[in-house]
């Protein structure tokens, strides 16, 4: 009996594996993707990169200008994230089942969050571009909206997970709603919330580059400009700087996380 069950499970795994391979082949066929041809172009691509993406002393002359743009992007991401975090805190408290004031606000908060979150940041940038034009406000708003969506969701989860028992106990002592939220819920969830905010700052610096290409601001604009001028050395420098910036921010936020948790 047991052996039979094992055999059946084994058969299931094999069938599942074959199914995945089948799906891969069908998708490749439908999109005219040829794995062998694709692989064959890799060496040529690498050679092109090695020939063109070289940083020379000429390029380094452009460094101050590029750094200025990079700064703009980093600070815009931080500003968008922190302001979004403040809004998300209220939405999160309203949306969590533990601290919900009433069903209407709870549903509204969740609705705003999922609407903001499920539209990609790039799509937000393109939509906002129509009304706000090509400037840094558009980029800021695109990041802001996406961040509100994500952080509200994360805050709701944190509060639901950590808050309910202390909420019950403090309500029983006769504490008011704001006393419970201010003195039990927020202190308990704060480290987790800060952790999410740091994560969002990292993510937004990456997104800001892409959004910048569309809205003509920050490092994304510089990337787009040099790319269209065929100045590939500068493009390489920008790419390298973005990677460095993201890594530095990531290390810094990991350190902060270790300290607060």
């Amino acid at each position: 009996m047991n052996e039979k069950a094992f055999k059946r499970r084994k058969l299931h795994s094999i069938l599942f594996f074959l199914l995945i391979i089948g799906v891969a082949f069908i998708s490749a066929y439908m999109t005219d993707f040829n794995l062998v041809e694709g692989m064959a172009t890799i060496p040529t691509a690498l050679i092109w990169m090695a020939e063109n993406l070289i940083i020379t002393t000429d390029t380094l002359a452009k460094l101050p200008k590029i750094l200025e743009k990079l700064n703009e992007t980093i600070f815009m991401s931080i500003a968008a994230t922190t302001i979004a975090a403040a809004i998300s805190l209220f939405l999160g408290i309203a949306g969590s089942t533990t601290t919900a004031v009433n069903g209407f606000f709870s549903t509204l908060a969740r609705l705003i969050a999922s609407f903001a979150r499920n539209i990609p940041v790039v799509a937000w940038a393109l939509i906002l571009l129509l009304s706000f034009g090509q400037n840094s406000i558009t980029g800021f708003l695109a990041l802001f909206v996406g961040t509100v969506g994500f952080l509200t969701r994360a805050f709701i989860e944190s509060i639901d997970e950590a808050g309910s028992s202390a909420y019950e106990a403090l309500t029983a002592t006769g504490a008011t709603y704001f006393q419970v939220v201010g003195k039990a819920i927020i202190p308990q969830c704060l480290p987790q919330m800060i952790s999410w905010i740091l994560f969002m700052i990292e993510t937004n610096i990456r997104s800001a580059t892409l959004v910048g290409i569309l809205t003509g601001t920050g490092i994304g604009y510089a990337f787009d400009l040099y790319y269209k001028m065929l100045d590939y050395q500068a493009v390489a420098l920008i790419t390298l700087l973005i990677v460095a910036a993201v890594i530095i921010i990531e290390l810094a936020s990991n350190h902060i996380r270790r300290v607060i948790l």
């Binding site: 028992s165 202390a166 019950e168 106990a169 403090l170 309500t171 029983a172 002592t173 006769g174 504490a175 008011t176 704001f178 006393q179 419970v180 201010g182 003195k183 039990a184 202190p187 308990q188 704060l190 480290p191």
Partner: protein
């Protein structure tokens, strides 16, 4: 006159199943009252109906002369300051210090702003330290609660309830997650609270023997109804069978 009087209390979470059916009992000042019964009998719901963490459907709960079920928000808040509560899982804020958690018990007496800003008077702080000393955990006053053992955390919970200056303390399975020694420490403290301070204690318990050795009176709940209400020596085999649906020898009683 009794401090607490529950009359015809009814509660159902879904329309077809009743959790509490026509509950009637009273508790006097300084009385130590245990509520026993199998899981799902309605013990926790009963306690939570008293301080209205759960809204009862029908009935009256007279506490110090007023019907708790009829109170509006502000009056309810004032009434809750007189009722402390102790939980199975302590329900402290784990990241805050012991002393902060104890002072949380004073929020009921403060305006929202005073509470949110954390303004406590010297007397309140002295009282908090006095209570911590009384329960033997003053050495841990500045430690975070998540660094304490279960028994110590429960003692913080007791301090938080006592600093309210309550007339009644509701204990929802206070020793269900504790080891035998910590359980004894906690039960001894609860007993002395009711005897020395004259505070009424209503304690939900799973252990029949513990209920029998500590209580002045025991209430047995089964399936939402009171099937036993009497002193601990009146609780014999017959009634235990009525409460749990089986004989004592089929139960782990210690």
């Amino acid at each position: 006159m009794s401090l607490l009087q529950v009359k015809d209390l009814n509660k159902s979470y879904q329309t077809d199943t009743k959790v509490l059916k026509n509950i009637n009992f009273s508790a006097g000042t300084g009385e130590f009252l245990s509520v026993i019964g199998p899981s799902g009998a309605g013990k926790s719901t009963l306690l939570r109906c008293i301080n209205r963490l759960v809204q009862a459907d029908k009935g009256e709960i007279l506490f110090g002369g007023q019907d708790l079920l009829k109170l509006r928000k502000k009056e309810l808040r004032a009434a809750r300051t007189n009722i402390g509560m102790i939980f199975q899982h302590y329900n402290l804020v784990p990241r805050l210090t012991v002393i902060e958690n104890v002072l949380h018990g004073r929020f009921g007496y403060k305006s929202t702003l005073q509470g949110v800003l954390g303004r406590f008077s010297e007397e309140e702080k002295e009282r908090a330290f006095y209570l911590l000393e009384k329960l033997g955990i003053e050495a841990h006053a500045y430690k975070r609660c998540d660094q304490l053992s279960g028994g110590q955390q429960q003692r913080v919970g007791i301090c938080r309830a006592l600093i309210q200056n309550p007339k009644l303390i509701l204990c929802d399975e206070p020793i269900a997650s504790l080891d035998p020694h910590s359980s004894k420490v906690i039960m001894d403290h609860l007993k002395s609270i009711s005897e020395e301070m004259g505070i009424t204690c209503i304690v939900n318990l799973h252990q029949v023997e513990v209920a029998q050795s500590y209580s002045d009176r025991i209430i047995g709940l089964n399936n939402g109804s009171i099937v036993f209400d009497g002193s601990n020596f009146q609780l014999d085999q017959l009634y235990i069978k009525r409460v749990y649906g089986m004989e004592t020898r089929e139960l782990i009683t210690v």
